[in-house]
């Protein structure tokens, strides 16, 4: 009845294989690509900027928070990348690197256990109109970090965004629709965002810091003070004031335990609130390939397990830059990321027998206080000031109270289990806005260290991709004919029996 069809893997037309592929055109990725090219390896660099507006609306991975100007102030926003980002890519091209901009990498597929039929390690990539596959022999992932998001009443309003998002909108796209910003946090991410805002003519009303001391580097903080930007210490957010826009932020002083002193609450006028609590690694592209992910608080939480060359447990895959781990020190000193990138490229060259000799030492930055520990201090104070009925997951409308109620029903402390129960993290941002807050809430409620928990699953596509773009349009007719209808049905007389299979009533 049903067709028996020839077994064949539906494989499509692929781009010619490039031996080294680098994902991410930041400092680490460009340094890696340039070094690999300098060592004579053929290199392709993929960078997702400029992002389409639809990608931006999915907050991937930048928390743009609808603060994107309707019309970018700079018409070049959709042209070649600007500033340092553009210079880095131009330099890569000068060294012979093939540079694909406006191209996001959404999948990473590796032959291995239970995918033995995959011919090559391959990346799924897409631009605005189509997707395709790029085979690689070596992969250097430099996917950067994403904004660590903690919620407070009003945080979903247009006008609230993340520091990475602000950085991209200000520096890269010239498209930040705001005039007066309040920045939450005082680490190097916050200080840098404040400087960038001032440089682009956006006023910075204040930085808010929950701790009694500035987290970031003293000289940068002093420079801001000199520019007239105050840092309000031992304060937290009570709520954002506004309806369809931000008009002000209401802040309140906290004591040493994070408890708010109600009498101290006051409003600060602003149209933009920037969350600069910190940056955590984008580990998705490593995780979906099967690279082991471990919890390392000193590197920003869940990170790929790497050796000193930044090589993952899959020998062909390296991870460098913020994607390998974030720190205040690396934020201050871009040379660290660049050194990681170069060292990974040299390790690949050594694999190929193209060079020998000792590797360049890369400093291992260690923060006084890791980002998630700092975030816990913030979350504690935000929880006391803002309460439990605050959205954690705006995609699926899940509040802190619902998360904590679900935790109380028992089971292992697992983000995947929590996702099943509450849908937290199941929405269109793919958990990028709620994952860290959920992790902290789970750890707190269970009284365990996050290191004792299983990481939540990471899934391809690591960016939501339209069906029309993801579709394998190059699929061959043979591949279409080999498509099974729920496996291939077993017919009477199927092989494997010593004689004809017994009929249904043989049992009786």
């Amino acid at each position: 009845m049903a067709r028996r069809v020839a077994a064949a893997a539906p494989v499509g037309v692929r781009m010619a294989a490039h031996r080294v592929v680098v994902v991410g055109g930041g400092i680490a990725g460009c340094a890696a690509a340039e070094e690999a090219a300098r060592l004579g390896l053929p290199v392709t660099l993929i960078d997702e900027h400029p992002q389409g507006r639809q990608a931006m609306s999915f907050d991937a991975p930048y928390f743009y928070g609808a603060r994107l100007d309707a019309v970018p102030a700079d018409a070049r926003a959709n042209g070649p990348p600007r500033g340092q980002a553009g210079e880095r890519l131009a330099s890569c091209r000068d060294h012979g690197v093939e540079v694909l901009t406006g191209t996001c990498c959404w999948g990473n597929f590796v032959p291995g256990p239970n995918t033995t039929n995959l011919a090559n390690a391959t990346l799924g990539v897409a631009d605005a109109t189509r997707s395709w596959l790029i085979d690689y022999d070596h992969l250097i992932l430099a996917p950067g970090g994403r904004d660590l998001v903690l919620s407070f009443p009003g945080w979903q309003r247009p006008g609230v965004l993340g520091a990475n998002g602000a950085d991209a909108l200000l520096g890269r796209y010239g498209a930040l629709a705001g005039r007066r910003m309040v920045i939450l946090g005082s680490g190097n991410v916050a200080l840098r965002t404040a400087r960038l805002a001032l440089d682009h003519g956006v006023a910075v009303a204040t930085l808010i810091e929950v701790s009694p001391a500035v987290r970031g580097d003293a000289p940068d903080a002093a420079a801001l003070a000199k520019a007239g930007v105050p840092i309000l210490l031992t304060h937290t957010v009570e709520r954002v004031i506004g309806d369809d826009a931000v008009h002000a932020i209401r802040v309140v002083a906290v004591d040493g335990e994070g408890r708010p002193a109600a009498s101290s609450a006051h409003e600060i006028a602003c149209d933009t609130v920037c969350m600069a609590f910190g940056v955590v690694p984008n580990v998705e592209l490593a995780a979906v390939a099967g690279c082991r992910v471990v919890f390392d608080g000193a590197r920003g939480g869940w990170v790929p397990e790497l050796d000193t060359d930044s090589r993952s447990i899959i020998p062909s895959i390296f991870v460098v830059g913020d994607g390998a781990g974030t720190s205040e020190a690396a934020r201050r000193d871009p040379a660290i990321a660049a050194a990681q990138g170069r060292r990974a490229a040299r390790a690949i060259a050594r694999d190929r027998g193209r060079m020998s000799g000792a590797a360049e030492p890369v400093p291992v930055p260690v923060d006084r206080e890791p980002v998630l520990s700092y975030a816990r201090t913030w979350l504690n104070a935000l929880g006391m000031a803002g309460g439990l009925d605050v959205m954690v997951c705006p995609c699926e409308n899940v509040t802190r109270r619902q998360v904590l109620d679900a935790v109380r029903t028992g089971g292992h402390p697992s983000q995947d289990l929590l996702k099943r129960r509450t849908r937290v993290g199941a929405g269109v941002c793919q958990g990028k806005r709620c994952r860290d807050q959920t992790l902290l809430l789970l750890a707190e409620a269970h009284g365990v260290d996050p290191a004792a928990m299983s990481p939540g699953s990471y899934r391809a596509p690591v960016r939501p991709i339209p069906l029309s773009v993801m579709a394998a349009l190059e699929e061959t007719e043979a591949a279409r004919q080999a498509w099974p209808i729920w496996l291939h049905p077993v017919e009477d007389g199927a092989p494997g029996y010593a004689s004809a299979p017994p009929g249904e009533d043989d049992r009786a």
Binding site: H412, L417, A472, P484
Partner: protein, 386 residues
């Protein structure tokens, strides 16, 4: 030593449903899993209840399950997202349409009324279907639910009834004395029991082998995909264009299907479940099926490991030896049947007989199966899409 009336191996939908009904009947039940609840076959299920017109010996279970599903949320006290939306098969080409028309009489003969539809009638049921749809088969019977939430609902309800679920506790042996089960060895000690239910999905064969019982199952890796949520489009469980799909209560379209890789598993560790670029071919098929929805985004892909029996039909049996060993596996289509399979298992445990007819689902039918049946089928580990 810990003891239990019944130890159930496998915290998938079949193990948990069996455990729930047994606990409700008063048994002291412990469910063991090498990993987490619903992490293998159940985690990959599309979530359908089919009335099994194509395998009439499973139809009594399906009919019983349909009745149980109707009140399952109230029974369990936890949500399953059951939607009795019926089932629709559609054809986009003449060959497939002829196949569908040919199977209709069999379903009707099995007591499940199906209608052969033309393209317009199919689009009346699912308006977003392609204009290329030539027609299909429709039954108002059956429906779909959320596999993860349902498994979790059974697990919670089991705990509510005093049962236990021990995750990350692999079984390392089944103790048998004088042809009777006397205990189960686990990674954290032995549990004394005279009854073991093996409902371990892809690992069922390996666990049963610990008691020298041969259960022929072949594990296979298959892939699954889900879109971003949309407003309500259709309620039916749908099969067409090489995909099985449903719209979840939240509004996402879950769509499964495509080429598969036969694999081996072990009894103690979680098998690798990677996706492959096939997800692009799946996306293309959904785009062709629903041309007006091509702007909707693919949100997540994942893969699962499913067990397949030699005749792609359930195995539900209380074996003759050792006494006290019950096997329940459903060849990759057990999700919808599970509430009834659980009741069949309860009967086999407590009364040595199923309250629902399970004739022809025993292991005896594999008596003359060759030891190398997987190789003969080209279902051995590494074979692709055979």
């Amino acid at each position: 030593m810990r003891s239990a009336d019944v130890v159930i191996v496998g915290a998938g939908i079949i193990g948990l449903a069996s455990a729930y009904w047994l606990a409700k009947a008063g048994a002291k039940v412990v469910v063991l899993d090498k990993g987490r609840v619903a992490w293998e076959a159940t985690g990959r299920a599309t979530g359908f209840l089919s009335l099994r017109g194509e395998t009439p010996r499973e139809a009594p279970l399906a009919v019983a399950a349909e009745a149980l599903w109707a009140t399952l949320d109230d029974e369990l006290g936890h949500p399953t997202e059951w939607l009795p939306g019926g089932r629709l098969w559609v054809a986009l080409d003449e060959e497939r349409m002829a196949e569908l028309a040919a199977i209709a009489p069999g379903w009707c003969a099995a007591g499940i009324p199906v209608r052969v539809l033309d393209g317009k009638a199919a689009r009346d049921i699912v308006p977003c279907l392609s204009e290329r749809t030539l027609g299909g088969l429709h039954t108002t019977r059956g429906g779909h639910a959320n596999p993860l939430r349902t498994a979790q609902a059974f697990a919670h309800a089991l705990l509510d009834r005093g049962g236990a679920v021990l995750e990350h506790t692999p079984v390392t042996g089944i103790h048998v004395e004088r042809e009777h089960v006397v205990g189960v060895a686990t990674s954290s000690g032995t549990i004394a029991t005279d009854t073991v239910v093996v409902g371990a999905g892809p690992q069922t064969g390996l666990i049963a082998a610990m008691a020298d019982v041969r259960v022929p199952v072949a594990p296979v890796r298959v892939e699954a995909t889900v879109t971003t949520p949309m407003p309500r489009l259709f309620d039916v469980a749908m099969v067409g264009h090489g995909l099985s799909l449903r719209q979840t209560r939240r509004g996402n379209i879950q769509f499964n299907g495509g080429p598969h890789e036969w694999i081996d598993v072990d009894a103690v560790s979680e098998p690798a479940k990677p996706n492959t670029p096939i997800v692009r071919n799946m996306a293309r098929r959904l785009a062709e099926l629903f041309p007006s929805l091509t702007d909707v985004h693919v949100l997540r892909c994942w893969a699962g490991v499913v067990e397949v029996t030699p005749d792609q039909t359930s195995i539900i049996d209380r074996v003759a030896s050792p006494d006290g060993l019950i096997v329940a596996t459903s060849s990759g289509h057990g999700f919808g049947l599970a509430p009834a399979i659980g009741q069949a298992v309860r009967g086999l445990v407590l009364e040595r007989a199923s309250p629902i007819p399970i004739d022809g689902l025993g292991l005896a039918r594999f008596g003359n199966l060759c030891p190398d049946w997987r190789a003969a089928r080209r279902w051995s580990a590494g074979a692709y899409n055979t």
